[in-house]
Symmetry: C2
Subunit: 468 residues, 2 copies
C-alpha cells in the first residue's frame, strides 16, 4: 500500500509532464468516471490520464512507478464490483483508456482481429460481421463495455456454453506492465509453447498486474442456421438430462441453455404483457438455442421430445419473443421488489442439487425470503437472488434487504464454497467481494497469486486495493 493517501504534488507534476497533453484534472470531465454505473461506489482522483497510444501510456506508467503513484485503469466503466473506480481518498490516478479505440487489423483467413483496449464490444461485433465472421461473446452492456475491461474481468455472457468466456477467445495481449515495460503478444499464434502464457495471466487479473492496451481475439464463422425452443420440465435434474441429450444429438451445437423457475417466467411474461410460451404449469422452464451450418429445427424437436412440453420458434419473431422473456426476467424481478443478488457458479453437474438445496437452506434461515434462481445451466452460472418477504411494500422490503443482506450473502457464499463453486461467476472481485474471497478462497492459491502480484508490482501501484 502507498505510505500515505495523498499523492505528492511534485510527483503529480512529473506525471503530468510525462503525459504531455494526454491528461485532465477538469472535475466535470472526470465526474462521470468516478462513479460506477449503479451509483454504488464513488471515487476521487487529482488527475485523469488519457493516453493516445501504448507508448504514451508506457511513458506515464514508467514515471508513476518511479514516483510510486497508484494507477486505476478504466475501460467502459460498466463493472459491477468497483474494479475500475479509484479509492475515495483520492490516493490514485485514473487511467482513462478511451482513446485506445482502434481496430488495428482484421484477419479473415486466420479468423483473428487485433483491437485496442477501448474498442466497444458492439463495434467489434459489427466489424466481424462485415467480413462474414462473428465474435461469439455478448452481454447486456455491449454498447458501452470495452474489450480491455472484458478481458481484465474475463467476461462471459449467454454464449459461454459453446464458445467460452473471454479467456477462451483471447489469442494474445499487448499490455503495459507495472514497471512501464510493454509486453507485445499480439501475433495470435494458435501454437506457441515457449513457457507460461502471460496473456492468460492478465485475463481476469482486474488490472492488478498491468494495463491491457490491445488484444488479438478469435473469431468464428457465422452460423447459417439457428433454432430456438422453449421446454418445460419438473426439476433442474430433468433440465440437465435434457441438455446432455441435446449436446450428444447436436454434437455440441448448443449455443445457449437457460434455466428459469415457473414464477420467474410468469413475472417476465406479465411484465412484457406476453402469454407464457407453455400452457401447463411446469416448475422449471428452459430456453435453448442451437446454431450451426445445417438446419437444426428437426434436431431440436427430437431433443426436446424428452421434455414434458416444448415449443420450437417458427420464425425470427417468435425466437425473439422467447429470448425477450429470458432477457427481461432480471428487470421484471427487480421491479417486483428489493432482493439480495448473487453472481455465483457451481460445477454444472452439481447445479440441480444446489438449486434445490440452497433454496431450501436460505429460505429456512431467512423466513419470508423468497429465492429466485435462474441462469445459464450449461455453464453452471446461477443468478441466485433472494427477494424480500412478500407484501411488505418497497420501503419495508428495502429495509429487510439492508438488515439481512450481508447475512444472506454470507450463507449463499458458504453454500457455494461447500459445493465447490465460485462466489464470482462473471463480475469479478473488485472491492465488493474481497472479504469473501479472502475468507473462502483456497489459501495456497491466494498465496501464490499474491506472490505473483508482488513480483510484477512490488510497489503495489497497479489498481491497488482491488482483488486482494
Amino acid at each position: 500500500m502507498p505510505a500515505s493517501p495523498a499523492i505528492d504534488p511534485a510527483a503529480l507534476t512529473a506525471l503530468k509532464a510525462a503525459a504531455g497533453a494526454d491528461w485532465t484534472d477538469d472535475a466535470d470531465l472526470m465526474a462521470p468516471r468516478l462513479v460506477d454505473w449503479r451509483g454504488k461506489l464513488r471515487g476521487a482522483t487529482p488527475l485523469m490520464l488519457m493516453p493516445r497510444d501504448t507508448a504514451a501510456l508506457a511513458g506515464m506508467v514508467t514515471v508513476a512507478a518511479a514516483h510510486r503513484i497508484p494507477l486505476v485503469p478504466q475501460g467502459g466503466n460498466t463493472g459491477l464490483v468497483g474494479g475500475g473506480i479509484p479509492p475515495a481518498d483520492g490516493s490514485a490516478v485514473l487511467v482513462n483508456l478511451s482513446r485506445l479505440n482502434r481496430i488495428r487489423s482484421l484477419d479473415a483467413a486466420g479468423q483473428l482481429v487485433t483491437a485496442e483496449a477501448a474498442v466497444i464490444l458492439a463495434d467489434l461485433h459489427a466489424a466481424a460481421e462485415a467480413v462474414g465472421l462473428m465474435f461469439p461473446l455478448s452481454l447486456g452492456a455491449k454498447g458501452s463495455a470495452t474489450l480491455g475491461g472484458l478481458a481484465a474481468t474475463n467476461a462471459g455472457g449467454v454464449q459461454v456454453l459453446r464458445h467460452g468466456t473471454m479467456r477462451a477467445l483471447v489469442a494474445g495481449i499487448e499490455a503495459v506492465l507495472p514497471d512501464g515495460s510493454i509486453v507485445n503478444g499480439l501475433s495470435g499464434l494458435v501454437k506457441d509453447n515457449t513457457g507460461p502464457n502471460l496473456a492468460q495471466l492478465l485475463v481476469g487479473a482486474e488490472g492488478t498486474l498491468g494495463i491491457i492496451t490491445a488484444l488479438t481475439l478469435k473469431l468464428v464463422p457465422q452460423p447459417r442456421h439457428r433454432a430456438v425452443g422453449w421446454a418445460g420440465v419438473a426439476s433442474p435434474h430433468a433440465a440437465l438430462a435434457l441438455l446432455q441429450g441435446l449436446q450428444t444429438l447436436s454434437g455440441g451445437q448448443v449455443e445457449s441453455f437457460e434455466l428459469m423457475p415457473a414464477d420467474g417466467v410468469a413475472l417476465s411474461a406479465a411484465f412484457l404483457g406476453q402469454a407464457p410460451p407453455l400452457a401447463g404449469a411446469h416448475a422449471w422452464q428452459i430456453l435453448v438455442e442451437l446454431a450451426g451450418p445445417q438446419p437444426l429445427a428437426e434436431l431440436l424437436a427430437e431433443g426436446l421430445a424428452a421434455a414434458d412440453d416444448a415449443v420450437i420458434a417458427q420464425s425470427e419473431g417468435q425466437a425473439r419473443a422467447l429470448w425477450r422473456l429470458r432477457e427481461e426476467l432480471p428487470l421484471a424481478e427487480r421491479r417486483e421488489g428489493p432482493a439480495v443478488h448473487h453472481d455465483i457458479a457451481v460445477p454444472v453437474s452439481r447445479l440441480p442439487d444446489f438449486a434445490l438445496s440452497a433454496t431450501a437452506a436460505v429460505e429456512a434461515a431467512f423466513p419470508g425470503g423468497r429465492v429466485i434462481a435462474f441462469g445459464h445451466l450449461g455453464d453452471g452460472n446461477l443468478h441466485f437472488n433472494v427477494r424480500a418477504p412478500r407484501g411488505e411494500g418497497p420501503d419495508a422490503g428495502a429495509a429487510w434487504v439492508a438488515a439481512r443482506g450481508a447475512g444472506v450473502t454470507r450463507l449463499v457464499h458458504d453454500l457455494v464454497a461447500a459445493a465447490g463453486g465460485s462466489i464470482s461467476a462473471e463480475h469479478g472481485i473488485g472491492v465488493l467481494k474481497r472479504a469473501d474471497l479472502a475468507r473462502l478462497g483456497d489459501p495456497a492459491r491466494l498465496a501464490a497469486l499474491k506472490a505473483i502480484k508482488h513480483a510484477l508490482d512490488p510497489q503495489d501501484i497497479m489498481n491497488p486495493g482491488k482483488l486482494y
Copy 2:
C-alpha cells in the same frame, strides 16, 4: 541455482525419511528414466521419488524446500526437449509420478473428467469413449504420454484447429507448489472470476512452477459423422483459401487440415507402397477431415470443388489410407536421409508466404539443403525440415547436418521470429531451446516470467535449468 552440484547427504537422508517407502535409488530402476526416448540427453540422480498420492508428494516437496534440494518431475518421458531429464551432474532428485495414475471421477453430464497426472492419454481416451464422449487431443505418443506432462508442455496434436491445445482443455489443476503447499483447483467450473487463473499459469510451465498432480479436463460429444478428403492446389495460398471456405461452409467443423508438398506425398506413398491419391502433379496437397453430428460428405465435396483436384474417402478404409499417407510422412522423410528438424509456428494467415520465402532463404543460404515443410495449416504449425544435400550418402548427410545444423536452425528461428512466429510450436523449451528463447523472446515477457518463477520458487528447486 543451487550453491553446489552435489546434494548434501544429510539432506538426502531427510528427504528419504519424508518419502517413507516411496523412493528408490536402484540404478536399474532409475536407468530408463534418466535418458530421453530419442537417446539424446542423459541425466543422473542419487534418488528417485515415487509418491503414492498428492499428500505424500507435498510432504516430500516441503522437505526438499527446507533443504533446498532441486526436483525434476517426470511423466511418461516422451518429451523432445529434455524437460523431464535431470541434469547430468546428479544435482537434482527425480520425481517419478507414475503412481498418480487413477481416474478419480468422470462426469458425463458436465462433460468433465478428473484424472491424476500419470494417467496415460490412451487410457483417458478409452474412459471417455466408454461413456459416449471424447477427449479431443491425440498424438503419436498417446500410449506413453501422461496427462501431467501433456499439460506441463501444453501439448497439441492433429485436432488443435478445432479443439485447441491442452490449455483449452484444462478446466482445473491440482498441484504441489515449490513450497510444498497444495493448490486444489479441480472443481471444473466453467465460470470462475475470482482472480487470475493459476491452472492456466501451470500449463506450459514445464514443471518450473510446481508439480501437476491431477487435472480436470473437458470432454466433448463423439461426432456421429466424419468426412475425409484429399485435395491438390498450386500454392499454400490456395490451400489457405480452401480452408477459409470450408470453415465458413461447415460452421467451424474442420477437425484437421494438413498441408504437404508434392515431394513429401511422393516419399510417403513410395514408403507405404501406396498409389498417391491424386493422379496429377499438384505442388501442394491437403488432407482434410470434417466431423460433426450430421452427414458431411456432400458439404466436404462442395468445399473441395475450389481445389484443382480432390477425392473424398468413400469408406473407413479409404479414410485410413489417406491418413496413413500423412502420418507416415515424417518417418518416410527420416528414412530418406538426415535432416535438421524444426517445430515452429507462424500466424495462420502468414503461413503461405512464410512457407515459400523461408524455403527460398534457407536453400539460398545453405546450397544443396532441401527444405520439406508440412504440417497443420489450420493452426500455423509447420514441420520445417532441412534435408542434407542429395546423393551424399548417409554418412556425408549426417556430417552435413552436424556441420550446418546449428546455423540452419539459427536462420530458421530468425525467420520465424521475424514473421511473428514461435520457435516452439509443440514441444516446449526444456534445455534444448533455452538459448534461442533467450535470444529471440520478448524481453518484457521473459522478465515478467522470470519474476513469477522467482516469486513462486525463490530457491529455484523446481525443475531448475529448464525453460529459463
